[in-house]
Amino acid sequence: MTKRIILGGAAILLVIASAYAAFFIAPEERTMGLIQRIFYFHVSSAWAGFTAFFLCFIGNLLYVWKRDQKYDWLAVSGAEVGLAFTTVVLITGPIWAHPVWGIWWTWDARLTSTFVLWLLYVSYLLLRSLVDEPDRRALLSSLFGIFAFLDVPLVFGAIRWWRTQHPQPVIMGGQGSGLDPTMKSVFFFSALAMHVFMLFLVAERYALEKMQTETDFLVREVEA
């Protein structure tokens, strides 16, 4: 509990500092101007979402291997938190796109694969809600979760492998790509802040899932 409070406090301080850095330290981008400041929130949320889905994937793999419920708790926590971050990405992206592209949305490879990712993890959570028996639910959702994670590298690679309306990568984009050094520092600081915030949410969600299992156990005890 104390560790979660410390993590929560650190997350709040870091996200406030990262918002300050995005607005007051990062220089204004020459072509897009002020609207480009959404980048620090949008891309760092996407990265934190990917990491949350990776935690879900690890939880799924370990559950299939070891059949220990704590890995299922990790998986569902990562899926729910990752879904929240991807929702933010899907909302902030069009708000950024509209003044720059003149359209809110286009079905290019990056946007479509991100939307599919969102749908896959909604399906993962729906599947869990449809199966009552805990072990069966954990196994079925683990298998589906492993499949769902295959879309994450596809989202990451979409702007590298195909021509898209979405901008080409400015981080890890290879030759010709890049960011102003101050912008880069502010971005990595924002990514760190979002990752700490994501870990805090995963820890909170994990504690909830653990408590749910304890409650289910006690209900069975009382009914017996």
């Binding site: 918002a19 101007g33 002020l34 609207i35 400041r37 959404i38 929130f41 949008h42 949320s45 729910e80 938190v81 929240a84 929702t87 933010v88 909302i91 902030t92 708000i95 950024w96 509209h98 003044p99 915030f197 949410l201 909170e204 969600r205 504690a207 909830l208 408590m211 749910q212 304890e214 409650t215 006690l218 209900v219 005890e221 009382v222």
Partner: protein, 47 residues
């Protein structure tokens, strides 16, 4: 200050989503904690 409204909207809606998500976790946790306490108090009496 062109597009200030869009930047403001993106940050406000984005943090709004996180806030609502955290609220749902906190609400579910509080409900479960109460249920857990109720069950724990019931168990010794049942035995």
């Amino acid at each position: 200050m062109k597009n200030l409204n869009s930047v403001f909207a993106a940050y406000l809606i984005g943090w709004g989503v996180f806030f609502v998500f955290y609220l749902t976790i906190a609400k579910r946790t509080a409900k479960l904690r109460a249920e857990l306490e109720r069950l724990k108090s019931y168990l010794p009496r049942a035995k």
